[in-house]
């Protein structure tokens, strides 16, 4: 009889005990804020008891993973003070002693370790599933061996140098062609000059602009 009364008391008192353990702003409590509509828009799901159960299960999983034991269970995660925003507080009790709370630092480390899995369970991200006080670790920057801009620079300056070399080569070729042409022309020049001298005509005169056929005013 006494045992039954004690059992009844225990069953009645346990949730109340659990409620006293979980208080907003408790030293070992953690606040969670969830923004489902921001993350998923039209495909947002309803936050109800089932989701709460999933959360407790995921947290138990995280604690198991961190401590590498299999003693944590859904009952060890106690939640309270849920608001319309969808934010709530939770505390983690030790599996051996249900009145003893796991210190916040350890809970934080456990969450950090399994953050990715927790996010994925709810289809959320670090920004939309916030554990207030636990900052997400930022992705390490990817440092390539050669900075990409140097590659593009190399391509452009290579093209420019190729252009310069092409220009120099073409001007060299032109000069050689002109020299060859001049050698042939030179004989003609001599003939003409001789002709000029013979006929007593001066063949190279001053270019007189007044007698050109071009338009006097160059059009735009």
């Amino acid at each position: 009889m006494l045992v039954r009364i004690l059992v009844l008391l225990y069953l009645a008192g346990a949730p109340a005990l659990a409620q006293t353990l979980c208080q907003p702003n408790a030293s070992n409590g953690c606040r969670v804020r969830i923004s489902i509509k921001t993350a998923l828009g039209n495909q947002a799901y309803e936050w109800n008891e089932n989701e709460m159960f999933l959360f407790r299960a995921t947290m138990a999983f995280a604690m198991r993973r961190y401590y590498k034991t299999e003693t944590y269970n859904v009952d060890n995660i106690i939640m309270c003070n849920q608001t319309l925003r969808v934010s709530f507080w939770f505390v983690v009790t030790s599996p051996e002693n249900s009145t003893m709370l796991i210190p916040k630092a350890d809970v934080e480390k456990a969450v950090r370790m399994s953050r990715h899995r927790i996010n994925n369970a709810f289809l959320l991200t670090d920004r939309t599933l916030e554990f207030l006080g636990i900052h997400p670790t930022l992705a390490a920057p990817v440092n390539p061996d050669t900075p990409p801009w140097l590659i593009v620079f190399g391509v452009v300056i290579g093209a420019v140098f190729a252009g310069i070399i092409a220009l120099l080569v073409s001007s060299l070729l032109q000069k050689r062609r002109k020299e060859k042409g001049m050698m042939e022309d030179g004989q003609d020049e001599e003939d003409r000059q001789m002709k000029g001298v013979e006929n007593d005509n001066v063949l190279d005169g001053i270019y007189n602009r007044g007698f050109t056929d071009d338009d006097r005013f160059t059009k735009l």
């Binding site: 319309l84 593009v152 620079f153 452009v156 420019v160 005013f217 160059t218």
Partner: protein
């Protein structure tokens, strides 16, 4: 006559027009005109601008083209031919152009840097880099914005003040080297190569501007910016600064006084119809300014709307989190309604928000007017990073900046090279290719000083003082020389000789009367402004605060400013004195010789 036959010429008049357009349409059209429009009353600014263009810009442009085409020499030779005592005007132009060459190509180096950095999956100025222990972002970046951090820290690695020098930024130096090699490539064969390049540098920016216009006006919120720009505020017309800024903008946008126009025109055929070309180039330049303003303001509008909506989103989240309301109770539209509501119903909790509640104001966002490198490299890149497919838009934008800058650089370098290659003793010793190479190398080596850690402060000094005041003085002397010392009658005769018809009354009145008066007024205003302004100051980047702080120039920097101004202006009186002394020596020498022969 022999010189006539040997002088290079444009292949056709279109090349000359495109060269002038490419030179005049530069970065100032994109980053200074929209700023002035915004500061001085939107659409209303067009009135003083057009008036100044007609009274000041076009006549002076016409005059420079006429001089170049008639004398067929660069600025030194041309002015010496007009009046031997005032050959110093040409020399002053060359000195000013040299200063411009030194610092202008640094802007092209920055454009190259940004262009090369656009080929990444995430634009580097879109996010702050993480700090060394991966807990958060770099502090300087948190206090400023990612775009500012990228410009001041990663591009410039700027020091705290002009006194703190540092090493050369290797990336910048490489980009500057590339810029100068490309400039050399464009001018290596003189006008033959330049003439072909300008087909591209003059037309391609318009293609990019049109693409950007279409992209810009289809952006969300662009209409706010365009409406803001075009709403005229007529009361600004009563402000004299509006008129002064309109005159200065017309003046500098057309590139008068640098000697580039004289150099370009000197390669023209003698009978080229430069009158029509002068009007066409001025009109094209102005319409490009207006066109670029529409593009700039649509992007401003997009950026302002984006920032405004981000601000609203932050306030919404703050309210939701503080008052623990369900997510869909507050939307972006009724944020302000809810603020009033919550203040009324729960005042104590509302008061606990304290300073965290920001006021979001679209007008304030649009009011942030920026000009110059701040607009091009900070504001624009911030807008671009928020566009979809931002890498493509970034590449296009910086290619456009590069083409505009390169086109203007061509004019600057030709303004220096043409007079030098006309000088007998230089053309005797080296070919044009070697001269071009030497000038480019010299400018590159000196320009490396602008790539040091305090280089941006020296750049700003050159930008503000190197060419502004001296140009006004140069052009004033030019106009007075042509109209009163050379004589408007002789000028008229020369023009009739070239064009075949007499000078119109419009040109005569403007050149002889209105333009000199306006120039004198501008000149006096600049002097008064400079004296009243007190010690010259500059914006130094403070890395602790994450913003620019107004700092005074140290004494040696102020002395350098004085040197910059004096070095180009002094050329005019010094050359006049030198010519006077030489003539006197020559005259007295001749007299002695004549006396000796007679006596002998």
């Amino acid at each position: 006559m022999g010189k006539d036959a040997a002088r290079a010429e444009w292949d056709n008049p279109m090349q000359f027009v495109l060269a002038c357009v490419s030179y005049a349409v530069g970065l100032g059209n994109v980053w200074r005109f929209p700023y002035l429009c915004q500061m001085h009353g939107g659409g209303g600014f067009l009135i003083p601008y057009m008036l100044m263009l007609v009274l000041l810009g076009v006549p002076l442009f016409y005059m420079e083209l006429a001089i170049g085409q008639k004398m067929r020499l660069g600025s030194i030779g041309a002015w010496r031919a007009i009046s031997p005592y005032l050959g110093g005007v040409g020399l002053a132009s060359v000195v000013t152009s040299m200063y411009l060459c030194l610092y202008y190509n640094v802007i092209n180096a920055w454009s190259f840097w940004y262009l090369f950095h656009s080929f990444q999956s995430v634009l580097p100025w879109a996010e702050c880099p993480v700090n060394s222990n991966l807990t958060g972002h770099v502090e300087e970046c948190e206090r400023a914005t990612p775009t500012q951090y990228f410009f001041y820290r990663e591009t410039l690695d700027i020091s705290g003040s002009i006194e703190e020098n540092g090493g050369i930024h290797m990336g910048q130096a490489l980009c500057l080297l590339l810029a100068w090699i490309i400039v050399y490539l464009f001018i290596v064969k003189g006008v033959k190569s330049t003439g072909k390049v300008v087909y591209f540098t003059a037309t391609f920016p318009y293609l990019v501007l049109i693409i950007y216009l279409i992209r810009g006006v289809t952006l969300h919120g662009a209409i706010n910016g365009v409406k803001y720009m075009f709403t005229p505020k007529m009361e600004q017309l009563a402000n004299p600064t509006t008129w002064i800024n309109a005159a200065t903008q017309v003046f500098f946008s057309l590139g008068l006084g640098f000697g580039s126009l004289i150099a370009f025109a000197s390669y023209n055929q003698y009978n080229n119809n430069f009158e029509k070309q002068a009007i066409v180039v001025s009109m094209v330049n102005s319409s490009t300014s207006i066109f670029a303003s529409i593009v700039t303001f649509s992007i401003y509008g997009f950026k302002a709307t984006f920032n405004y909506e981000s601000c609203l989103e932050r306030v919404r989240l703050l309210l939701l989190n503080t008052f623990d309301l369900a997510e869909d109770t507050i939307s972006l539209e009724n944020v302000n309604h809810w603020i009033a509501e919550l203040n009324r119903t729960q005042p104590e909790q509302f008061a606990s928000l304290g300073g965290r509640l920001e006021t979001c104001d679209l007008e304030a966002e649009l009011d942030t007017a920026v000009e110059g490198t701040g607009l091009a490299f900070i504001v624009y890149s911030e807008a671009i990073k928020n566009m979809p497919v931002s890498q493509l838009w970034s590449v296009l934008y910086f290619i456009m900046l590069l083409l505009l800058g390169m086109g203007s650089m061509l004019g600057n370098v030709i303004a220096v090279i043409t007079p030098l290659s006309d000088l007998k003793f230089i053309s005797h010793y080296m070919s044009t290719k070697t001269l071009n190479g030497l000038v480019c190398l010299f400018c590159l080596l000196l320009g490396l000083g602008f790539t040091t850690r305090s280089g941006n402060y020296w750049f700003t000094m050159f930008n503000d003082y190197g060419a502004t005041f001296s140009l006004l003085f140069i052009v004033l002397i030019e106009v007075i020389t042509v109209c009163y010392i050379y004589g408007i009658k002789r000028f008229e005769k020369d023009v009739k000789d070239m064009l075949g018809h007499r000078l119109n009354w419009y040109w005569k009145i403007m050149l002889a009367g209105v333009s000199p008066i306006l120039l004198i007024a501008l000149f006096i205003f600049y002097i008064v402004n400079y004296i009243q302004g007190g010690t010259p100051t500059y914006q130094a980047w403070n890395k602790e605060l994450g913003k620019s702080v107004v700092t005074e120039y140290p004494p040696y920097a102020q002395a350098f400013i004085g040197l910059l101004l004096a070095s180009s202006v002094c050329c005019i009186p010094l050359t006049a004195l030198y010519t006077y002394c030489k003539k006197r020596n020559l005259a007295s020498g001749k007299r002695e010789r004549t006396v000796s022969t007679v006596s002998a």
